[in-house]
Symmetry: C2
Subunit: 475 residues, 2 copies
């Protein structure tokens, strides 16, 4: 209390001292950004590729509120819970901004007693993380989630999630990529046979998760120093987490005298083998790596986990490509819905989340480098006039075009110069100009000018809509 | 301070008492909701109509963060400021959820020194209002905004905003509607000639704004009782706010001996006349009513204001249709961008905001009533098998289809019954089934079944993609 009182007094002092002219800061909140029309055009392309893929796989779409009851998010994110944005208590319920789309999805399933759905959800999530915006790390960012909920035969939905990641990353042409796969049950088995006490599984798992950003030596010293693991156990883990491969590695571990004795690990390895069979049928096993160092931070995973990374193009001569960051991740979470159900009824789920921001950064840089000109509108025709005093005629004509579904603009000037009107088309990429003039009005025609070629033709007014449609239909 | 300490002690006591088993509440926050796949399908239709219209008028699109610095929103919303959601102070900047899309737009323009843009923005906004969800009033709701910023000749962009409202409401077939128009300058002139002191303009304006929900007598008593206006002034206002009409009323008020002497009112009336001329050219003047009772709550409007209401269909026999609620509103705000600019440079703006929730409620009810079956996926074909042990073959075939861009699903069962597979198609509206069987595999064909007609044809595997495309292309 004394501390709180001191804080309040300090606040009061600050408020009192704030008498000078207040300097207003013109910015977006830390870790957030606006999207300009050009950036939106690129973002739309990415979204289109992703949504097309999700729909190709038969997904429905849902939406949930941007905030949830605070308690809905409590106990779902382990060490990351401190990054949740809370809303101020203004009376009424305590609320938090969503941290991901998975927990709201589980809440939605439990609340509506849905036991079987394949859905996607594209929305912004919020994390009070240290932003690194040039590397595409924000506090407000999009997630594009695809999940399959329901009791099914093993690994078929899991394999489809990996197929989806493969399709999207191929479609977006982001260069070479690798999808790492592991299983929480294999990790738990590995921890058990290495002598990690049960109570330390989650925290040691968090340490392993840092292996993509830290060398093993640092991770080891965190395990031993901070988390009190025995050096022997840590070294034993160190041997396992170096391993990665395909079916051959799975077979080898199934023969591992210790691991194969662990019930969950054995189950996980059996499923991993099945998964690789399905991935081979899908023709994508070549891009998948069974990697024992993959751990994923979140608490709610219970089975298969995976993460897709882009590989650096420049280092082709190096033996192994260096990963430049995760662009998708996911896994199986069979217990999460049960945490919300009053009777604890479980709904098995597996899903994938595509991280759009990194992908978007890469494509934005690529557009910048290529000097590709991106149109930010779809306007087909500018309604213009060559002489003065024709505003009314321009408004009448554009109204006809709008009503016929033509995308049309007009300059908001009474008497714009023809040159300015043509320049506007050049600047914004409008392909056609419909010019009205005294003579054209008398003759019942409109002069249609093709901006690119400067060709001009007189079109009868009643044929104008058809002519514009024909000239602007995609080839 | 003492009060704060007491509050803290009380909170501590409460926390201490919370020892019993916590009862978890499974719900979305007050005033919010989830969207189910079916609701999303309806929402997408509405968005498509709106976006198509915005693009037809040549708008670009932008996006801004869901929260802004608290001070960005301060002093923009008058009496409604108390409805802003603040975020908890967790260290760092003080943030609030956006209350509308207009203030973030103005902040965006000032921050990027943009003086000329036509943009739309569709996003959720947040208001701690009393929700009335059956009538489409939520705490989290979508706004679809279209705004034109820039120094232009009078009333041309303003008229286009009204044209857009007219197009969207017509396109959505929501029944009869009316667009009320007024001008803040005319209102201010009216207040001045009625003897309202300058200092009371804004608060009396707020009272007038309630006329669509309260009878005049109540509004009058608020003006006189709560706000201390003289009864004479109130009665004088009462005479004006009954007036509504078209060009005739504008002409009459231009002759009004007092109002025509007020500089701003005269300007406003002159512009109103020009606006009606343009609306006549657009062929929409019949749905527009110049209405002196329209005030709009927000502080930032400086010129034309408008609001679209749907008219109740059932009361056709009543002399005047009863309005069932506002579905769009907007106006001119020439000073808002200047509030953010360090040098106070103004960017004139006019814009319209379409309120999607009410429209969505109406369309949702209509779909319920019509028993129209809405598909929530776009799947073209289900890959099925008639016999057991063909999972691998199904996965191989569906992978081929996905890679060719066909929207396809498969049941996640090792050995699903054919009947269950066909039932799934009936339930979800999938039009085609591609059936693999031993014989078909031997013959290099796939049996394609049309769900609606039960017709079955054998299609050569290499022609399957083409055949599915042909049979599912829109007519």
């Amino acid at each position: 209390i004394a501390k709180e009182v001191a804080k309040l007094l300090e606040m009061k002092a600050q408020l009192g001292g704030d008498e000078g002219k207040h300097k207003f800061v013109l910015k977006t909140p830390k870790g957030t950004r606006d999207y300009s029309p050009k950036q939106m055009a690129i973002r739309e392309r990415v979204f289109n590729a992703i949504i097309t893929c999700f729909k190709r796989h038969g997904a429905e779409v849902i939406d949930t509120p941007v905030f949830e009851l605070k308690e809905t998010l409590t106990g779902k994110y382990g060490e990351d819970s401190k990054l949740i944005y809370d809303l101020k208590d203004q009376g009424g319920e305590l609320l938090s901004l969503r941290y991901d789309l998975t927990v709201p999805f589980a809440r939605y399933l439990a609340m509506n007693k849905i036991t079987n759905i394949k859905r996607y959800h594209i929305a912004k999530v919020y994390r009070r993380d240290n932003p690194a915006m040039t590397r595409g790390r924000y506090r407000e960012f999009y997630q594009c989630d695809f999940d399959i909920a329901g009791q099914f035969d093993p690994m078929i939905p899991d394999a489809e999630c990996l197929k989806i990641v493969h399709e999207i990353l191929s479609d977006l042409q982001l260069g070479d990529f690798l999808i790492k796969v592991n299983d929480r049950r294999i990790l738990d088995g590995m921890f058990a046979v290495c002598g990690v006490p049960d109570s330390k599984f989650r925290t040691i798992c968090s340490s392993v998760d840092k292996l993509d950003k830290m060398p093993w030596e640092e991770v080891r010293s965190e395990m031993v120093g901070e988390k009190g693991l025995s050096p022997e156990a840590a070294d034993h883990i160190g041997e396992y987490v170096q391993l990665h491969g395909g079916l051959d590695l799975i077979e080898r571990l199934l023969q591992d005298p210790k691991l194969s004795q662990h019930k969950l690990a054995k189950e996980g390895l059996g499923d991993m083998k099945l998964l690789f069979e399905y991935l081979t049928l899908f023709g994508i096993a070549g891009k998948i790596s069974f990697d024992l160092s993959l751990a994923r931070g979140l608490d709610y995973y219970t089975g298969v986990i995976f993460e897709a990374v882009l590989l650096q193009q420049e280092n082709d001569h190096v033996e192994e490509s260096v990963s430049v960051g995760s662009v998708a991740g996911g896994g199986r979470y069979d217990g999460l819905v049960g945490m919300f159900d009053p009777k604890g009824r479980k709904v098995p789920c597996v899903g994938v989340s595509i991280g759009i921001e990194r992908i978007f950064s890469i494509l934005e840089q690529r557009v910048e480098a290529s000097e590709e000109k991106i149109r930010t509108t779809e306007t087909q025709v500018l309604v213009a006039s060559a002489q003065k005093k024709l505003l009314e005629e321009r408004l009448k004509l554009i109204s006809e075009l709008w009503d016929a579904g033509i995308k049309a603009e007009v300059l908001y000037k009474k008497n714009p110069k023809l040159l300015n009107q043509l320049q506007y088309c050049e600047d914004t990429g409008i392909p056609l100009v419909a010019i009205v003039g005294e003579q054209e009005l008398k003759d019942g025609v409109v002069k249609l000018r093709v901006v690119a070629t400067r060709e001009e033709v007189n079109v009868r007014r009643e044929s104008l809509v058809e002519e514009i449609r024909m000239r602007t239909s995609r080839p």
